[in-house]
Protein backbone atom coordinates (compact mmCIF):
# COMPACT_ATOMS: atom_id res chain seq x y z
CA UNK A 1 0.00 0.00 0.00
CA UNK A 2 3.01 2.25 0.30
CA UNK A 3 3.27 3.22 -3.34
CA UNK A 4 5.98 5.54 -4.60
CA UNK A 5 5.12 8.18 -7.23
CA UNK A 6 4.75 6.69 -10.72
CA UNK A 7 6.93 9.30 -12.40
CA UNK A 8 9.93 11.45 -11.59
CA UNK A 9 8.53 14.60 -13.19
CA UNK A 10 5.11 16.20 -12.99
CA UNK A 11 3.61 19.36 -14.37
CA UNK A 12 1.97 20.11 -11.03
CA UNK A 13 2.57 18.67 -7.58
CA UNK A 14 -0.01 19.61 -4.95
CA UNK A 15 0.90 19.12 -1.30
CA UNK A 16 -1.99 18.57 1.09
CA UNK A 17 -5.42 17.03 0.39
CA UNK A 18 -7.64 19.44 2.29
CA UNK A 19 -10.19 21.69 0.56
CA UNK A 20 -7.56 23.73 -1.32
CA UNK A 21 -5.43 20.76 -2.36
CA UNK A 22 -8.39 18.66 -3.50
CA UNK A 23 -9.73 21.52 -5.64
CA UNK A 24 -6.30 22.45 -7.02
CA UNK A 25 -5.37 18.89 -8.02
CA UNK A 26 -8.76 18.27 -9.66
CA UNK A 27 -8.54 21.52 -11.63
CA UNK A 28 -4.99 20.89 -12.78
CA UNK A 29 -5.71 17.30 -13.83
CA UNK A 30 -8.94 18.31 -15.55
CA UNK A 31 -6.91 20.64 -17.77
CA UNK A 32 -4.73 17.69 -18.78
CA UNK A 33 -1.63 18.50 -16.72
CA UNK A 34 0.21 15.59 -15.13
CA UNK A 35 -0.74 16.06 -11.49
CA UNK A 36 0.46 14.45 -8.27
CA UNK A 37 -1.27 15.04 -4.93
CA UNK A 38 0.79 14.18 -1.86
CA UNK A 39 -0.93 14.02 1.53
CA UNK A 40 0.24 13.04 4.99
CA UNK A 41 -3.07 11.67 6.25
CA UNK A 42 -4.69 8.26 5.87
CA UNK A 43 -7.38 9.57 3.54
CA UNK A 44 -8.43 12.78 1.78
CA UNK A 45 -10.09 15.78 3.43
CA UNK A 46 -7.41 17.57 5.41
CA UNK A 47 -8.69 18.74 8.78
CA UNK A 48 -12.06 20.26 7.88
CA UNK A 49 -13.18 17.27 5.79
CA UNK A 50 -11.21 14.75 7.82
CA UNK A 51 -12.20 11.11 7.21
CA UNK A 52 -14.75 12.25 4.62
CA UNK A 53 -14.48 8.89 2.81
CA UNK A 54 -14.37 6.72 5.91
CA UNK A 55 -16.13 8.38 8.86
CA UNK A 56 -18.17 6.01 11.03
CA UNK A 57 -20.53 8.93 11.77
CA UNK A 58 -23.27 7.93 9.37
CA UNK A 59 -26.04 10.22 10.65
CA UNK A 60 -25.30 13.04 8.19
CA UNK A 61 -26.92 15.86 10.15
CA UNK A 62 -24.54 15.29 13.08
CA UNK A 63 -21.48 16.52 11.22
CA UNK A 64 -23.50 19.09 9.26
CA UNK A 65 -24.00 19.91 5.58
CA UNK A 66 -20.77 21.95 5.41
CA UNK A 67 -18.79 18.80 6.15
CA UNK A 68 -20.35 16.67 3.42
CA UNK A 69 -19.38 19.22 0.76
CA UNK A 70 -15.99 17.54 1.03
CA UNK A 71 -17.37 14.34 -0.49
CA UNK A 72 -18.10 16.16 -3.76
CA UNK A 73 -14.56 17.53 -3.88
CA UNK A 74 -13.12 14.06 -3.39
CA UNK A 75 -15.43 12.66 -6.05
CA UNK A 76 -14.33 15.32 -8.54
CA UNK A 77 -10.71 14.57 -7.83
CA UNK A 78 -11.14 10.80 -8.17
CA UNK A 79 -12.90 11.31 -11.49
CA UNK A 80 -9.81 13.15 -12.74
CA UNK A 81 -6.48 11.68 -13.76
CA UNK A 82 -4.61 13.07 -10.78
CA UNK A 83 -2.33 10.63 -8.99
CA UNK A 84 -3.03 10.64 -5.25
CA UNK A 85 -0.71 9.29 -2.56
CA UNK A 86 -1.71 9.29 1.10
CA UNK A 87 0.51 8.74 4.13
CA UNK A 88 3.12 10.61 2.16
CA UNK A 89 5.11 13.09 4.25
CA UNK A 90 6.86 15.77 2.23
CA UNK A 91 10.05 16.65 4.09
CA UNK A 92 11.79 18.88 1.58
CA UNK A 93 10.92 21.37 -1.14
CA UNK A 94 13.54 23.62 -2.67
CA UNK A 95 13.81 26.48 -5.15
CA UNK A 96 14.39 24.01 -8.00
CA UNK A 97 10.94 22.59 -7.22
CA UNK A 98 12.44 19.28 -6.18
CA UNK A 99 10.37 17.47 -3.59
CA UNK A 100 11.50 14.80 -1.16
CA UNK A 101 8.68 12.69 0.21
CA UNK A 102 8.71 9.89 2.75
CA UNK A 103 6.32 7.04 1.95
CA UNK A 104 6.25 3.87 4.03
CA UNK A 105 9.69 4.51 5.51
CA UNK A 106 11.45 5.21 2.20
CA UNK A 107 12.07 8.51 0.48
CA UNK A 108 11.23 9.30 -3.13
CA UNK A 109 12.12 12.41 -5.12
CA UNK A 110 9.98 14.15 -7.69
CA UNK A 111 10.42 17.32 -9.70
CA UNK A 112 7.57 19.66 -10.59
CA UNK A 113 7.09 22.49 -13.05
CA UNK A 114 4.70 24.03 -10.53
CA UNK A 115 4.11 23.31 -6.87
CA UNK A 116 0.89 24.24 -5.10
CA UNK A 117 1.28 24.18 -1.33
CA UNK A 118 -2.00 23.42 0.40
CA UNK A 119 -0.62 22.56 3.81
CA UNK A 120 -3.41 24.43 5.57
CA UNK A 121 -3.53 25.59 9.13
CA UNK A 122 -2.85 24.39 12.62
CA UNK A 123 -4.22 25.40 15.99
CA UNK A 124 -2.79 28.59 17.40
CA UNK A 125 -0.68 27.80 20.46
CA UNK A 126 -2.67 28.27 23.69
CA UNK A 127 0.13 28.46 26.27
CA UNK A 128 -1.64 28.53 29.64
CA UNK A 129 -0.29 27.04 32.88
CA UNK A 130 -0.73 23.26 32.66
CA UNK A 131 -1.36 23.00 28.92
CA UNK A 132 1.10 20.10 28.64
CA UNK A 133 -0.81 17.93 31.15
CA UNK A 134 -2.33 14.70 29.87
CA UNK A 135 -6.03 15.46 29.44
CA UNK A 136 -5.45 18.89 27.87
CA UNK A 137 -5.91 18.81 24.11
CA UNK A 138 -6.88 21.09 21.27
CA UNK A 139 -10.51 21.37 20.18
CA UNK A 140 -9.29 20.25 16.77
CA UNK A 141 -7.93 17.05 18.31
CA UNK A 142 -11.34 16.19 19.74
CA UNK A 143 -12.94 16.98 16.40
CA UNK A 144 -10.46 14.76 14.59
CA UNK A 145 -11.36 11.83 16.84
CA UNK A 146 -15.06 12.58 16.47
CA UNK A 147 -14.93 12.60 12.68
CA UNK A 148 -12.52 9.73 12.08
CA UNK A 149 -13.44 7.38 14.92
CA UNK A 150 -16.83 8.61 16.26
CA UNK A 151 -15.20 9.19 19.65
CA UNK A 152 -16.79 11.68 22.04
CA UNK A 153 -15.69 13.14 25.40
CA UNK A 154 -16.89 10.97 28.24
CA UNK A 155 -15.55 12.32 31.54
CA UNK A 156 -15.88 15.82 32.97
CA UNK A 157 -15.18 18.01 29.96
CA UNK A 158 -14.43 21.71 29.70
CA UNK A 159 -14.03 23.57 26.41
CA UNK A 160 -12.18 26.88 26.63
CA UNK A 161 -11.32 29.59 24.16
CA UNK A 162 -13.09 31.28 21.30
CA UNK A 163 -13.88 31.18 17.62
CA UNK A 164 -16.29 29.47 15.22
CA UNK A 165 -14.64 26.03 15.47
CA UNK A 166 -15.23 25.93 19.21
CA UNK A 167 -19.00 26.22 18.76
CA UNK A 168 -19.06 23.78 15.87
CA UNK A 169 -17.16 21.21 17.91
CA UNK A 170 -19.44 21.69 20.91
CA UNK A 171 -22.53 21.20 18.74
CA UNK A 172 -21.07 18.07 17.15
CA UNK A 173 -20.10 16.54 20.51
CA UNK A 174 -23.62 17.13 21.85
CA UNK A 175 -25.26 15.69 18.71
CA UNK A 176 -23.21 12.51 19.12
CA UNK A 177 -24.22 12.22 22.78
CA UNK A 178 -20.89 13.34 24.25
CA UNK A 179 -20.42 15.23 27.47
CA UNK A 180 -19.54 18.91 27.96
CA UNK A 181 -19.70 20.32 31.48
CA UNK A 182 -18.85 23.93 30.77
CA UNK A 183 -17.70 26.26 28.02
CA UNK A 184 -15.33 29.05 28.99
CA UNK A 185 -15.47 31.85 26.43
CA UNK A 186 -12.27 33.91 26.37
CA UNK A 187 -13.45 36.46 23.79
CA UNK A 188 -12.40 39.91 25.01
CA UNK A 189 -15.35 42.22 25.61
CA UNK A 190 -13.63 45.05 23.74
CA UNK A 191 -13.46 42.90 20.62
CA UNK A 192 -17.19 43.28 20.08
CA UNK A 193 -16.70 47.02 19.57
CA UNK A 194 -13.62 46.58 17.40
CA UNK A 195 -15.54 44.15 15.18
CA UNK A 196 -18.70 46.23 14.94
CA UNK A 197 -17.70 48.37 11.93
CA UNK A 198 -17.23 45.13 9.97
CA UNK A 199 -20.49 43.57 11.08
CA UNK A 200 -22.45 44.34 7.93
CA UNK A 201 -20.31 42.15 5.68
CA UNK A 202 -20.56 39.37 8.23
CA UNK A 203 -24.33 39.69 8.62
CA UNK A 204 -24.69 39.11 4.90
CA UNK A 205 -22.28 36.14 4.84
CA UNK A 206 -23.52 32.56 5.09
CA UNK A 207 -21.57 32.13 8.33
CA UNK A 208 -23.83 34.45 10.31
CA UNK A 209 -27.07 32.46 10.42
CA UNK A 210 -25.22 29.15 10.81
CA UNK A 211 -23.04 30.48 13.62
CA UNK A 212 -25.96 31.93 15.50
CA UNK A 213 -28.08 28.78 15.34
CA UNK A 214 -25.11 26.65 16.42
CA UNK A 215 -24.45 28.87 19.46
CA UNK A 216 -28.12 28.69 20.36
CA UNK A 217 -28.07 24.90 20.06
CA UNK A 218 -25.06 24.66 22.40
CA UNK A 219 -26.19 27.27 24.93
CA UNK A 220 -29.49 25.41 25.42
CA UNK A 221 -27.56 22.42 26.79
CA UNK A 222 -24.30 23.65 28.29
CA UNK A 223 -23.38 26.30 30.84
CA UNK A 224 -21.38 28.99 29.04
CA UNK A 225 -19.20 31.39 31.01
CA UNK A 226 -18.23 34.47 29.00
CA UNK A 227 -15.59 37.10 29.65
CA UNK A 228 -12.96 34.64 30.90
CA UNK A 229 -9.74 36.58 31.53
CA UNK A 230 -7.52 33.95 33.17
CA UNK A 231 -7.27 30.23 32.61
CA UNK A 232 -5.10 27.41 33.95
CA UNK A 233 -5.05 23.63 34.15
CA UNK A 234 -3.65 21.67 37.05
CA UNK A 235 -3.16 18.13 38.22
CA UNK A 236 -0.43 15.69 39.22
CA UNK A 237 0.63 13.94 36.02
CA UNK A 238 -2.93 14.18 34.71
CA UNK A 239 -5.48 16.98 34.42
CA UNK A 240 -7.53 17.21 37.63
CA UNK A 241 -9.00 20.70 37.58
CA UNK A 242 -9.49 23.83 35.51
CA UNK A 243 -9.28 27.23 37.14
CA UNK A 244 -10.53 30.47 35.61
CA UNK A 245 -11.39 34.08 36.33
CA UNK A 246 -14.54 35.66 34.87
CA UNK A 247 -15.93 39.03 35.92
CA UNK A 248 -13.15 39.28 38.51
CA UNK A 249 -14.25 36.06 40.23
CA UNK A 250 -12.04 32.97 40.37
CA UNK A 251 -13.58 29.54 40.07
CA UNK A 252 -12.02 26.08 40.06
CA UNK A 253 -13.79 23.02 38.75
CA UNK A 254 -12.77 19.36 38.54
CA UNK A 255 -12.11 18.16 34.98
CA UNK A 256 -10.84 15.10 33.12
CA UNK A 257 -10.58 16.74 29.71
CA UNK A 258 -9.86 20.35 28.73
CA UNK A 259 -10.20 21.26 25.06
CA UNK A 260 -8.47 24.49 24.04
CA UNK A 261 -9.03 26.61 20.96
CA UNK A 262 -8.23 30.17 20.00
CA UNK A 263 -8.29 30.05 16.25
CA UNK A 264 -6.00 28.61 13.62
CA UNK A 265 -2.86 29.95 11.94
CA UNK A 266 -1.08 29.07 8.70
CA UNK A 267 1.17 26.01 8.81
CA UNK A 268 4.25 27.75 7.44
CA UNK A 269 7.02 25.18 7.86
CA UNK A 270 7.29 23.79 4.33
CA UNK A 271 6.75 27.15 2.62
CA UNK A 272 9.32 28.90 4.80
CA UNK A 273 11.85 26.10 4.33
CA UNK A 274 11.41 26.51 0.56
CA UNK A 275 12.38 30.16 0.94
CA UNK A 276 8.95 31.74 0.55
CA UNK A 277 8.87 35.22 2.08
CA UNK A 278 6.41 35.67 4.93
CA UNK A 279 5.25 38.84 6.69
CA UNK A 280 3.75 39.32 10.12
CA UNK A 281 -0.01 39.79 9.83
CA UNK A 282 -1.11 42.27 12.50
CA UNK A 283 -4.78 41.42 12.12
CA UNK A 284 -4.53 37.62 12.23
CA UNK A 285 -1.46 37.70 14.52
CA UNK A 286 0.56 35.16 12.56
CA UNK A 287 2.99 34.80 9.65
CA UNK A 288 1.40 34.87 6.22
CA UNK A 289 3.17 34.32 2.90
CA UNK A 290 3.67 37.19 0.45
CA UNK A 291 1.48 36.21 -2.52
CA UNK A 292 0.09 37.72 -5.70
CA UNK A 293 -3.63 37.54 -6.58
CA UNK A 294 -3.18 34.03 -8.00
CA UNK A 295 -1.41 32.69 -4.94
CA UNK A 296 2.09 32.80 -6.47
CA UNK A 297 4.77 33.17 -3.81
CA UNK A 298 8.14 34.92 -3.94
CA UNK A 299 9.74 31.65 -5.10
CA UNK A 300 9.05 31.20 -8.84
CA UNK A 301 6.86 28.16 -9.46
CA UNK A 302 5.58 27.82 -5.89
CA UNK A 303 2.01 28.91 -5.20
CA UNK A 304 0.15 28.65 -1.91
CA UNK A 305 -3.58 28.01 -1.61
CA UNK A 306 -5.95 27.51 1.29
CA UNK A 307 -5.44 28.57 4.89
CA UNK A 308 -1.67 28.37 4.43
CA UNK A 309 -2.08 31.54 2.35
CA UNK A 310 -3.72 33.34 5.30
CA UNK A 311 -6.75 32.10 7.22
CA UNK A 312 -9.89 32.30 5.09
CA UNK A 313 -11.86 29.15 5.90
CA UNK A 314 -12.83 26.11 3.84
CA UNK A 315 -14.97 27.83 1.20
CA UNK A 316 -12.22 30.33 0.43
CA UNK A 317 -9.66 27.51 0.41
CA UNK A 318 -11.51 25.65 -2.34
CA UNK A 319 -11.59 28.75 -4.56
CA UNK A 320 -7.97 29.62 -3.81
CA UNK A 321 -7.05 26.08 -4.87
CA UNK A 322 -8.87 26.54 -8.18
CA UNK A 323 -7.26 29.94 -8.76
CA UNK A 324 -3.73 28.64 -8.09
CA UNK A 325 -4.32 25.64 -10.36
CA UNK A 326 -5.77 27.80 -13.13
CA UNK A 327 -2.72 30.06 -12.93
CA UNK A 328 -0.52 26.96 -13.31
CA UNK A 329 -2.53 25.87 -16.35
CA UNK A 330 -2.26 29.37 -17.87
CA UNK A 331 1.52 29.13 -17.54
CA UNK A 332 2.06 25.53 -18.63
CA UNK A 333 -0.75 24.77 -21.10
CA UNK A 334 -2.49 28.00 -22.14
CA UNK A 335 -4.64 26.21 -24.71
CA UNK A 336 -6.26 24.12 -21.95
CA UNK A 337 -7.63 27.02 -19.88
CA UNK A 338 -10.76 27.13 -22.00
CA UNK A 339 -11.94 24.01 -20.11
CA UNK A 340 -11.78 25.82 -16.78
CA UNK A 341 -13.90 28.41 -15.02
CA UNK A 342 -12.84 31.96 -16.03
CA UNK A 343 -10.52 33.75 -13.62
CA UNK A 344 -13.04 36.60 -13.18
CA UNK A 345 -15.65 34.11 -11.95
CA UNK A 346 -13.18 32.55 -9.54
CA UNK A 347 -12.15 35.91 -8.15
CA UNK A 348 -15.76 36.88 -7.50
CA UNK A 349 -16.32 33.48 -5.85
CA UNK A 350 -13.34 34.21 -3.61
CA UNK A 351 -14.60 37.65 -2.64
CA UNK A 352 -17.90 36.02 -1.68
CA UNK A 353 -16.20 33.28 0.35
CA UNK A 354 -14.02 35.79 2.18
CA UNK A 355 -16.95 38.02 3.09
CA UNK A 356 -17.16 38.66 6.81
CA UNK A 357 -13.66 37.38 7.54
CA UNK A 358 -12.41 40.69 8.94
CA UNK A 359 -15.30 40.68 11.38
CA UNK A 360 -14.32 37.22 12.60
CA UNK A 361 -10.63 38.19 12.80
CA UNK A 362 -11.43 41.25 14.93
CA UNK A 363 -14.02 39.54 17.12
CA UNK A 364 -11.90 36.45 17.78
CA UNK A 365 -8.55 38.17 18.10
CA UNK A 366 -7.05 36.27 21.04
CA UNK A 367 -6.29 38.29 24.17
CA UNK A 368 -2.61 39.05 24.94
CA UNK A 369 -2.57 37.02 28.17
CA UNK A 370 -3.50 33.87 26.24
CA UNK A 371 -0.82 34.44 23.59
CA UNK A 372 2.06 35.77 25.65
CA UNK A 373 2.57 33.67 28.78
CA UNK A 374 4.59 34.49 31.90
CA UNK A 375 6.51 32.74 34.67
CA UNK A 376 6.87 28.98 34.57
CA UNK A 377 4.24 28.41 31.88
CA UNK A 378 5.74 26.20 29.19
CA UNK A 379 6.33 27.92 25.85
CA UNK A 380 8.20 25.18 23.96
CA UNK A 381 6.48 21.86 24.65
CA UNK A 382 9.17 19.71 23.02
CA UNK A 383 12.18 21.12 24.87
CA UNK A 384 10.17 22.11 27.95
CA UNK A 385 11.24 25.76 27.98
CA UNK A 386 9.24 28.23 30.09
CA UNK A 387 8.35 31.87 29.52
CA UNK A 388 10.78 32.82 32.29
CA UNK A 389 13.57 30.88 30.54
CA UNK A 390 12.91 32.86 27.37
CA UNK A 391 12.88 36.20 29.19
CA UNK A 392 16.08 35.30 31.09
CA UNK A 393 17.73 34.59 27.74
CA UNK A 394 16.60 37.94 26.37
CA UNK A 395 18.07 39.61 29.47
CA UNK A 396 21.51 38.18 28.72
CA UNK A 397 21.48 38.97 25.03
CA UNK A 398 19.25 36.67 22.96
CA UNK A 399 17.90 38.95 20.23
CA UNK A 400 15.46 36.72 18.33
CA UNK A 401 14.11 33.19 17.89
CA UNK A 402 17.24 31.92 16.14
CA UNK A 403 19.64 33.11 18.84
CA UNK A 404 17.24 31.67 21.41
CA UNK A 405 17.83 28.21 19.94
CA UNK A 406 21.46 28.40 21.07
CA UNK A 407 20.41 29.53 24.53
CA UNK A 408 17.49 27.21 25.14
CA UNK A 409 16.85 24.85 22.20
CA UNK A 410 13.37 26.33 21.69
CA UNK A 411 11.91 25.15 18.39
CA UNK A 412 14.59 22.48 18.00
CA UNK A 413 12.45 19.55 19.15
CA UNK A 414 10.46 17.31 16.81
CA UNK A 415 7.58 19.78 16.27
CA UNK A 416 10.10 22.25 14.82
CA UNK A 417 8.48 25.32 16.32
CA UNK A 418 4.95 24.61 15.17
CA UNK A 419 3.61 24.95 18.72
CA UNK A 420 6.01 27.55 20.14
CA UNK A 421 7.09 29.74 17.21
CA UNK A 422 4.36 32.36 17.41
CA UNK A 423 4.62 32.52 21.19
CA UNK A 424 8.40 32.94 21.07
CA UNK A 425 8.16 35.71 18.46
CA UNK A 426 5.51 37.66 20.38
CA UNK A 427 7.13 37.09 23.78
CA UNK A 428 10.54 38.27 22.55
CA UNK A 429 8.96 41.20 20.68
CA UNK A 430 7.23 42.35 23.84
CA UNK A 431 10.32 41.89 26.00
CA UNK A 432 12.54 43.81 23.56
CA UNK A 433 10.01 46.51 22.63
CA UNK A 434 10.10 45.49 18.96
CA UNK A 435 7.46 44.43 16.47
CA UNK A 436 7.04 40.74 15.66
CA UNK A 437 8.16 41.55 12.11
CA UNK A 438 11.44 42.96 13.48
CA UNK A 439 11.96 39.98 15.78
CA UNK A 440 11.33 37.48 12.99
CA UNK A 441 10.82 33.73 13.06
CA UNK A 442 12.82 30.52 13.26
CA UNK A 443 14.91 29.81 10.19
CA UNK A 444 13.23 26.64 8.94
CA UNK A 445 15.04 24.01 6.95
CA UNK A 446 14.53 20.55 5.50
CA UNK A 447 13.70 17.99 6.73
CA UNK A 448 10.52 19.77 7.84
CA UNK A 449 9.28 16.55 9.44
CA UNK A 450 11.71 14.19 11.22
CA UNK A 451 12.89 11.20 9.19
CA UNK A 452 15.18 8.42 10.35
CA UNK A 453 18.89 8.56 9.65
CA UNK A 454 18.54 5.15 7.98
CA UNK A 455 16.02 6.60 5.54
CA UNK A 456 18.27 9.53 4.77
CA UNK A 457 21.27 7.22 4.30
CA UNK A 458 19.29 5.06 1.87
CA UNK A 459 18.61 7.99 -0.45
CA UNK A 460 20.17 7.35 -3.89
CA UNK A 461 23.47 9.22 -4.28
CA UNK A 462 25.08 10.43 -7.48
CA UNK A 463 28.84 10.33 -8.00
CA UNK A 464 28.91 14.10 -7.53
CA UNK A 465 27.07 13.80 -4.20
CA UNK A 466 29.67 11.34 -2.91
CA UNK A 467 32.58 13.42 -4.23
CA UNK A 468 31.24 16.48 -2.41
CA UNK A 469 31.76 14.89 1.00
CA UNK A 470 34.54 12.30 0.57
CA UNK A 471 38.13 13.42 1.11
CA UNK A 472 41.05 12.58 -1.17
Amino acid sequence: MSVAPKREDYDVVVIGAGPAGLAAAATSAEAGLSTLLLDENIGPGGQVFRAISSTPVTERSQLGADYWVGAELVQALRASNAEIIHRATVWSLDRNLEIAVSIGGASAFVKAKRVILATGALERPFPIPGWTLPGVMTAGAAQTMLKSSALVPDGRTVIAGQGPLLWLLAAQILRLGGRIDRILDTTERGNYFAALPHAFAFLTSPYFAKGLSMMREVKAKVQVVSGVTELSASGDGQLASVSYVAGGKRETMPADLLLLHQGVVPNVNLAMAAGVEHRWDDLQLCWSPVLDASGNSTVPGIAIAGDGAGIGGANAAVVRGRIAARAAVEALAPAAVAKLAPMATLRSDLAKAERGRVFLDKLFRPAPQFRIPAGDTIVCRCEEVTARDVLDSVAIGATGPNQLKAYRRTGMGPCQGRLCGLTVTELMAQARGKTPQEIGYYRLRAPVKPITLAELAAVPKSEADVKAVVRG
Binding site: P134, A141, K449
Partner: protein, 98 residues
Protein backbone atom coordinates in the same frame (compact mmCIF):
# COMPACT_ATOMS: atom_id res chain seq x y z
CA UNK B 1 -11.76 10.37 28.64
CA UNK B 2 -13.41 9.35 25.35
CA UNK B 3 -15.99 6.75 24.43
CA UNK B 4 -17.22 5.31 21.16
CA UNK B 5 -20.54 6.36 19.68
CA UNK B 6 -23.01 3.43 19.25
CA UNK B 7 -23.36 4.18 15.54
CA UNK B 8 -19.74 3.11 14.95
CA UNK B 9 -20.11 -0.20 13.11
CA UNK B 10 -16.52 -0.60 11.91
CA UNK B 11 -14.97 -4.06 12.26
CA UNK B 12 -12.72 -4.68 15.29
CA UNK B 13 -8.95 -4.81 15.07
CA UNK B 14 -6.79 -6.26 17.83
CA UNK B 15 -3.60 -4.46 18.75
CA UNK B 16 -1.18 -4.98 21.63
CA UNK B 17 -0.14 -2.19 23.97
CA UNK B 18 2.95 -3.15 25.97
CA UNK B 19 1.97 -6.76 25.31
CA UNK B 20 -1.66 -6.42 26.45
CA UNK B 21 -4.44 -7.02 23.89
CA UNK B 22 -6.53 -3.90 23.17
CA UNK B 23 -9.64 -3.71 20.99
CA UNK B 24 -9.47 -1.03 18.30
CA UNK B 25 -11.58 -0.40 15.20
CA UNK B 26 -10.58 -0.49 11.57
CA UNK B 27 -9.67 3.05 10.53
CA UNK B 28 -8.60 4.19 14.01
CA UNK B 29 -5.23 5.83 14.27
CA UNK B 30 -2.94 4.35 16.91
CA UNK B 31 -3.45 7.46 19.08
CA UNK B 32 -7.25 7.35 18.79
CA UNK B 33 -7.25 3.65 19.67
CA UNK B 34 -5.06 4.32 22.71
CA UNK B 35 -7.24 7.19 23.94
CA UNK B 36 -10.41 5.12 23.42
CA UNK B 37 -8.98 2.06 25.17
CA UNK B 38 -8.93 3.56 28.64
CA UNK B 39 -5.44 2.17 29.30
CA UNK B 40 -2.70 4.44 30.64
CA UNK B 41 -1.09 5.57 27.40
CA UNK B 42 0.95 8.42 28.87
CA UNK B 43 4.46 8.57 27.51
CA UNK B 44 7.33 10.16 29.46
CA UNK B 45 9.14 12.98 27.67
CA UNK B 46 12.77 12.64 26.58
CA UNK B 47 13.73 15.92 28.31
CA UNK B 48 12.30 15.70 31.84
CA UNK B 49 10.29 12.50 31.90
CA UNK B 50 7.04 14.46 32.27
CA UNK B 51 3.89 12.49 31.39
CA UNK B 52 2.15 13.42 28.14
CA UNK B 53 -0.79 12.34 26.01
CA UNK B 54 -1.56 13.43 22.42
CA UNK B 55 -2.37 17.14 22.16
CA UNK B 56 -3.21 17.95 18.51
CA UNK B 57 -4.07 14.60 16.82
CA UNK B 58 -3.10 16.09 13.45
CA UNK B 59 0.60 15.42 13.08
CA UNK B 60 1.87 18.68 14.56
CA UNK B 61 2.68 18.36 18.28
CA UNK B 62 4.63 15.05 18.49
CA UNK B 63 3.15 14.34 21.91
CA UNK B 64 1.68 11.12 20.47
CA UNK B 65 5.10 9.55 19.85
CA UNK B 66 5.02 5.76 20.32
CA UNK B 67 7.06 2.74 19.33
CA UNK B 68 5.18 0.80 16.66
CA UNK B 69 6.31 -2.70 15.68
CA UNK B 70 9.76 -1.94 17.02
CA UNK B 71 10.22 1.42 15.33
CA UNK B 72 10.50 4.27 17.85
CA UNK B 73 9.22 7.85 17.72
CA UNK B 74 6.35 7.22 15.31
CA UNK B 75 3.54 9.76 15.30
CA UNK B 76 0.68 7.59 16.54
CA UNK B 77 -1.91 10.04 15.24
CA UNK B 78 -0.80 9.48 11.62
CA UNK B 79 -0.56 5.68 11.64
CA UNK B 80 -3.67 3.52 11.20
CA UNK B 81 -3.99 0.43 13.41
CA UNK B 82 -3.41 -3.00 11.88
CA UNK B 83 -4.23 -6.48 13.20
CA UNK B 84 -1.57 -7.66 15.65
CA UNK B 85 0.27 -4.33 15.75
CA UNK B 86 2.65 -4.04 18.70
CA UNK B 87 2.61 -0.67 20.45
CA UNK B 88 5.03 0.33 23.16
CA UNK B 89 4.49 3.41 25.29
CA UNK B 90 7.74 5.38 25.30
CA UNK B 91 9.29 6.22 28.64
CA UNK B 92 12.07 8.74 28.15
CA UNK B 93 14.60 8.86 25.31
CA UNK B 94 14.88 6.32 22.48
CA UNK B 95 17.88 4.06 22.25
CA UNK B 96 20.03 3.54 19.17
CA UNK B 97 18.46 1.02 16.82
CA UNK B 98 14.87 1.63 17.88
Amino acid sequence: MFRRSEQDKRPPVQIFVDGVAVAARQGDTVSAALLASGCDARRATAVSGAPRLPYCMMGVCFDCLVTIDGVGNRQGCLVPVAEGMQIEIQKGKREIGR
